[in-house]
């Protein structure tokens, strides 16, 4: 179909419950999967298996942003043409990857951003919905990008974007940083509808509304230096 090498980068921190299923779903849609074990203390790294899978391990927990950048560095070394970022908690549908990659193959975008609000946010809680909507306003004010979803981990980068984006925010603020860099480095972007399925597990792992405050503090303090 195409000769471009599509890599998926997954940042995984204590994801022993979901990682095996996520990898098995993903294998059909990409050429290589890079799992960055971000200093997990559970059995995540021993459960990372698959013919297409490469495991990179952080000796200590640095955060999702740092783990994704580690995956990007490895993908660059491996001459990946397209890199997908994918969450390890089983919230995404691997079948969305074909839709995600399409605008890059058609040269319509350097970065494709998944949007749960153009697609479906299954079982989303009200507090999460409000937090994400506030994030959209925050992003518009600070980076000037008018998006329908700002903290969606399902994205695709072409080679140009992969080399231009450099994540320095180690933790959750990396999502805002990527958007800032899209604007600053004049990368072409497009949003496409995707499905995000909230499970009890994913809610427990990621749905801390205090995280929004942490992201805000990280972004503001970083602007100071």
């Amino acid at each position: 179909m195409n000769s471009l090498r599509i890599f998926a980068v997954i940042a995984a921190f204590n994801e022993e419950k979901t990682i095996a299923a996520v990898l098995s779903d993903l294998e059909k849609y990409v050429d290589e999967i890079i799992v960055v074990d971000d200093g997990s203390s559970d059995k995540t790294s021993t459960l990372v298996k698959g013919a297409k899978v490469t495991l990179l391990r952080h000796l200590s927990n640095l955060g999702q942003g740092a783990a994704l950048q580690t995956g990007f560095e490895y993908a660059k070394k491996q001459r990946a043409n397209i890199v997908i970022t994918y969450d390890a908690d089983g919230q995404f549908k691997a079948s969305d990857i074909s839709k995600l990659v399409k605008p890059i193959l058609q040269k319509k975008a350097d970065i494709v951003l998944g949007s749960r609000f153009l697609g479906h946010a299954v079982n989303i809680s009200l507090t999460r919905l409000i937090t994400l909507k506030l994030g959209i306003i925050f992003t518009f004010i600070f980076s000037g990008l008018k998006l329908t979803d700002t903290y969606n981990g399902l994205r695709a980068f072409n080679n140009k974007a992969l080399h231009k984006i450099n994540i320095t925010q180690n933790r959750l603020a990396h999502a805002s940083e990527i958007l800032d860099q899209i604007k600053a480095k004049k990368l072409k972007y497009i949003e496409i509808p995707v499905t995000v399925i909230y499970t009890d597990y994913s809610k427990q792992k990621g749905e801390k509304n205090l995280n929004a405050l942490k992201v805000f503090v990280d972004l503001v303090t970083r602007k100071l230096y």
Binding site: K49, G50, L56, R57, A66, Q69, L224
Partner: protein, 117 residues
């Protein structure tokens, strides 16, 4: 000499002594030591020369000498907090780079053949 002057000057002399020892052991840079010593010697001077402190405050449009000291202390504290944040951020970035380099240099292919429970 009042009790407060005696107490404060003893503390400051101890700080100056500790700074000098740290500098001699090579733990502090020349620039930092100079600024730090100048700061504490000035404080020591103003403890005994309070009229000069009051005159300096009036010159700057501040009514009391002690207010001038508080303003300067707040500014210095904020500056030091900023420096600490800056240094911590730099250290954090270096640690990140080291951990990343080690991870990228040691990729592990985890084919299903390597299955271990």
């Amino acid at each position: 000499m009042s009790i407060s002057q005696l107490l404060l000057s003893t503390i400051i002399i101890f700080i100056i002594y500790k700074t000098a020892v740290s500098f001699r052991h090579g733990n502090l840079s020349r620039n930092f030591t100079s600024i730090w010593l100048l700061l504490w010697i000035s404080v020591l001077f103003f403890i005994f020369e309070q009229n000069t402190l009051i005159r300096a405050a009036h010159f700057l449009g501040i009514s009391r000498g002690v207010d001038l000291v508080i303003y300067l202390a707040v500014i210095l504290t904020f500056y030091l907090i900023y420096k600490i944040f800056f240094t911590l951020n730099q250290i954090n970035q270096k640690v990140t780079e080291i951990i990343r380099e080690m991870a990228v240099k040691n990729p592990k292919k985890v084919d299903t053949k390597h299955k271990k429970a």
